[in-house]
Symmetry: C2
Subunit: 154 residues, 2 copies
Amino acid sequence: MSAAKRKGVPRKSAKAKASTAKANVLKNTVRANSSTTGSLKYLAWNDVEVEAMNPLLGRQLIVGHQVMLARVLLKKGCIVPLHSHVNEQLSYILEGALKFYIDGKEIVVHAGEVLTIPPNMPHKAEAMEDTVDLDIFNPPRADWINKTDSYLRK
Amino acid sequence: MSAAKRKGVPRKSAKAKASTAKANVLKNTVRANSSTTGSLKYLAWNDVEVEAMNPLLGRQLIVGHQVMLARVLLKKGCIVPLHSHVNEQLSYILEGALKFYIDGKEIVVHAGEVLTIPPNMPHKAEAMEDTVDLDIFNPPRADWINKTDSYLRK
């Protein structure tokens, strides 16, 4: 008995191998296309992993091609330290209230309100109550995707 | 009495005129910068005009630099005819349910769910119930901003 059969792994015929190779080429082609233009995706926020950044801050991501959605869950008192990024940001507060320190001003953004933040404009935020914030970024935040956002992980 | 004084318009001194000219240069500079990178804006959806596209379809826009948010209000039975656009679209259903006809499939997207639609992918939509849909576009939809979207105005 071959090693493959002992482990319950069916061995592939030459024809099956060719078919698999063809499928992989097709899959890689689709992937290549997707990486150029994005792909059709259907997702429920309830099925998207909540990443615990710190005890007061959770985050979910849905990443498109040039746009990324982040559903940011902040407990009252949570502080997002002063930072800036090249990405344009639109923050739409879905529940609660977030006080932004930005451009020399303090702006409390409540549920049903939106703040548009241009690229490279430093900002800090503080949750005035338990808050659900939808952040929209262009382009997607590489530091959030590859988890190099140490300023949030304290 | 001068014409200006009769109309209650105070005449400006040379100094005041120079100051206004300086302020306009500054304003135009700020505008020029804004058009390059977007600007900080704080808006409540309640204060954003609802454009009545047709009896079943209303729409509000918040336009950033490279990202546009549209809060789309659809009454049950509203149909958005088959169309496509170069803009990437993410549709986040906030209330209700929208059935998409896209990529040879029918996908009912409910409240709390998101569909990511790549550029140039034809799609049609039908409101299964009264629905609030947040559409995110990159870049902003020129046809929605300059009101040349006749496919929606029937």
